[in-house]
């Protein structure tokens, strides 16, 4: 009987996490896509500016953006099952993808008038002391050098 109640509780939590998680993800993606379209004219690239390539500049500034993303219970459960089988963990991919795009957008928001961000680097690190097997939070950091040319 107790086992049954436990299983029932876990299933209820899973279903709840699945719905809320997918709603949050859909909204986040909608916002990311809208903002990405807005920043279409401000590219951020890992290109390293070679010496002697300088155009007349109005401003140079280091920019960075970061975000910590967490994983809902449903995706953690999915991952738990996935570790038995191995293979692509699509549940985590979308979360990391969202985090990375969010970090890049925040970096761009620091200097929206720039013409280009060069030497951009991306870094991912697990921030929570993970006593549990599943991922709980990951920090994504994007940083680079924003250039504004003299017109």
């Amino acid at each position: 009987m107790e086992g049954l109640i436990q299983i029932g509780g876990a299933v209820a939590l899973l279903v709840l996490a699945m719905f809320t998680g997918s709603i949050i993800e859909r909204r986040h993606y909608a916002s990311i896509r809208a903002r990405e379209a807005q920043f279409q004219n401000l590219p951020a690239i890992p290109y390293e500016l070679p010496a002697g390539d300088e155009q007349p500049l109005a401003e140079v500034r280091m920019v960075m953006g970061s975000t910590v993303v967490s994983i809902d219970y449903f995706k953690q459960f999915l991952f738990g099952l996935r570790t038995l089988v191995g293979g692509r963990v699509s549940a985590f991919e979308s979360v990391l993808d969202r985090g990375r795009r969010e970090a890049v957008l925040r970096m761009k928001e620091q200097f929206p008038d720039a013409d280009i961000i060069v030497n951009m680097r991306l870094e991912t690190s697990t921030v929570s002391a993970s006593t549990q097997k599943a991922l709980n939070s990951v920090e994504v950091l994007a940083y680079g050098t924003a250039l504004k040319y003299r017109k």
């Binding site: 991952f79 038995l84 991919e93 990375r100």
Partner: protein, 104 residues
């Protein structure tokens, strides 16, 4: 598709760039392989199962990056960087990013 880790494509002139392209994948290892790796850890040496798995995943990440570059009409990706992070116990994220460009 030409892939380089430097700022240019040697011997070619870059005409224009299309911004950042990236590809990533998260892979979980299989508990059977994990078990074998645990045994292998005792004696040391290369964990072939893991090497294979990570290589395969990195290729997948590159493929995804290339797909993005192709869809914009680029014919080269320069400045490619990789980053591998262990996002959870038993899972690693392989990430590749670069600048999509068109060369002559």
């Amino acid at each position: 598709m030409i892939l380089t880790t430097v700022n240019f494509v040697p011997g070619r002139k870059i005409l224009e760039h299309y911004g950042l392209v990236s590809g990533s994948t998260v892979r979980a290892k299989h508990f059977g392989k994990d078990f074998m790796a645990g045994l292998k850890n005792i004696v040391g040496g290369e964990l072939k199962g893991y090497t294979e798995l990570l290589n395969e995943s990195r290729n997948e990440a590159i493929n995804r990056m290339v797909t993005q570059a192709q869809s914009m009409g680029a014919n080269a990706v320069i400045n490619i960087r990789f980053s591998t992070s262990s996002v959870a116990q038993g899972a690693a994220e392989l990430y590749a990013y670069g600048t999509a460009v068109r060369v002559e």
